[in-house]
Symmetry: C2
Subunit: 360 residues, 2 copies
């Protein structure tokens, strides 16, 4: 392992950004000056930014650094798609403490670069510095959209159909599984430390090679560690000539996001529990942990699926679209924001989504 | 004092961004959706980003939060000016721990907003989250420049004149002074804790009202805590029809920045010690601390002055420009990167600038 101090700031930046090939016509100049230079001529520019803090947004004990790099980029791409745009560039700021080696940073950056490669995005700048405690990541993504065609949260209208892509709650259940396995491991490690002599040594060796049993759970783990932004949905909506009236990505949970759309569009909504798409593994895991799977789908975050509303006249166009579910409809504001359960009870939607600034 | 948890993430964002009035034609949509939407039509877009970490880039014991907000914005504006551009928008990401109150955040944001007000910049987005320890700030600034007119670091040519704005080393000396006063205070506080009874109480009261004596040092303190980006210099260069061949801002120290320009422009340079502009207070403070003032000017960071090169044919145009000094000239690469001292000795310039990723 090589200490970061052997390279210094500029050496590390050079190593991490070496061989970056700029792919977008809009990228005039990338890493290496005071600013990146971009040229969007007749298109509008989208800007979004996300900050990920160690211990708050990720736990290094179960987050491989390459996945973390991939995810850090992806959550930003997702915001650009959620406006109906295309991500084009990112800037990457990281602060690291002395526990991190050059090879750690290589891994993190390789994840970033794979994400950028797959989604056609250029890394054009950033900042690389040190922190006293923990790893801090701040990524800004710039994208473009045809002039006047950005899809905001404020355009939903009474009678619009509410749609979501993919399925919900999987990333949250993946996180619960990772946390549980981590806890089991730590308990066993503590047990081992109570032992003596050869017994202890044997158990230590076993634990060092410990592989948590994730068989049959790969999907929910992947949803947590390596989410994908829904570029495919945006492309297909475009091809089908569907113009959502409002759209956002689901990062804090369906309830919270629905309330944002209702607030900004000054409307109400009715959502049907039985329509909320849930994957089989998500349901099994919720059962195993004795959690209500609908609650997980409504309030578990980090799905990075798209939530959007379309005019009821587009019903036919969306009906047979793969991986999109109609889960309810927009109403006049006085109807409220309502969840209709399987047994036809009605509840007010509440934003209990993941909120790092609220006391647990 | 109000705990952040009383507001939660969205409440805090609402409070901090309330009443923001967008000023720039290029800002189509600001805070409140997945992305900001910008429109630059026929101009090119500049993007820069900076990360500031508590304990690494600032120390809360002597950094008022309002100044910190101001400075966080300013260091980004400075990068945009250093390309010959105009800053237009910023996104503001912050991570805070439980020590921070709502009022602390109000102060930080008020500093940001004053900076944006003065420089005509819109706050268009960001991220507000929690950290386990310490305050992390990541700001991205977006600006514009006439198509093809961005000034890079790579255009300096043999015989070009090297210029700097303002004076150098002041921010670094201001930091030394702040650190010294902090140390004196801490020593006295420890002394106090050794005392007993009334004596102790008297000294404690004295210390609580302790105001470090900064008389006659206001300038260097201000250079450290509340730097200004050199918009005025960019404007005047434009008015005088001077087109720098290379330009950057001085954030890591003159030596380090000169070497960047020489590297990227494939040239050498000769810089004259006697020409390096140094303020009187900087010199006095260096004397008092028994430091070489030229070393401070060469290697002390955070001046946020502009370093630029101009064709020798523009000599007349720059000669009487207020607050700009010609400090040397660009040479062919084989001449090296040389500092000529007052007594005509020649030294190779070395980048010993502030480097948070190098071991002290």
């Amino acid at each position: 392992m090589s200490e970061i101090s052997t390279l210094g700031e500029f050496g590390l930046i050079k190593r991490l950004t070496e061989g970056i090939v700029l792919k977008n016509k809009s990228t005039v100049y990338g890493v290496g000056d005071d600013c990146a230079v971009l040229d969007y001529s007749d298109r509008q520019v989208l800007v979004t930014t996300d900050m990920l803090m160690e211990g708050v947004h990720f736990d290094r004990t179960y987050t491989p650094l390459q996945h973390l790099g991939y995810k850090s980029a992806m959550v930003n791409f997702s915001d650009i798609y959620a406006m109906g745009g295309t991500p084009r560039q990112i800037t990457v700021s990281i602060a690291i403490d002395k526990r991190f080696s050059v090879e750690d940073m290589d891994l993190f950056y390789s994840g970033l670069r794979i994400a950028c490669e797959e989604y056609g995005v250029d890394i054009v700048g950033g900042d690389t510095t040190s922190s006293l405690t923990g790893f801090a990541i701040s990524i800004t993504c710039i994208g473009d959209v045809e002039r006047g065609k950005a899809i905001y949260r404020n355009g939903a209208k009474d009678t619009d159909i509410i749609c979501v892509s993919g399925n919900l709650g999987a990333a949250y259940m993946g996180l619960q599984l990772l946390k549980r396995e981590q806890m089991v491991f730590e308990q066993q490690w503590q047990e081992m430390q109570k032992l003596q002599g050869e017994q202890r040594e044997t158990m230590r060796r076993e634990l060092e090679n410990y592989q948590p049993d994730m068989a049959g759970r790969e999907y929910i783990i992947e949803r947590q560690l390596r989410p994908e932004a829904r570029r495919d949905i945006i492309q297909e909506l475009r091809e089908r000539g569907i113009h959502p009236t409002a759209m956002m990505d689901i990062s804090d949970g369906l309830s919270s996001e629905l309330l944002h759309i209702c607030d900004q569009s000054h409307c109400g909504c009715r959502v049907f529990e039985e329509r909320i798409p849930i994957d089989y593994q998500t349901a099994v895991m919720a059962e195993e942990l004795n959690m209500n799977v609908t609650t997980c789908a409504l309030n578990g975050g980090e799905d990075y699926e798209l939530l959007f509303t379309i005019p009821i006249t587009d019903h036919e166009k969306i009906a047979n679209m793969k991986d999109v579910k109609m889960i309810g409809h927009i109403t006049r504001p006085e109807v409220g924001r309502v969840l209709v359960t399987r047994d036809a009870q009605e509840f007010d939607l509440k934003a209990q989504g993941w909120n790092p600034l609220k006391e647990e």
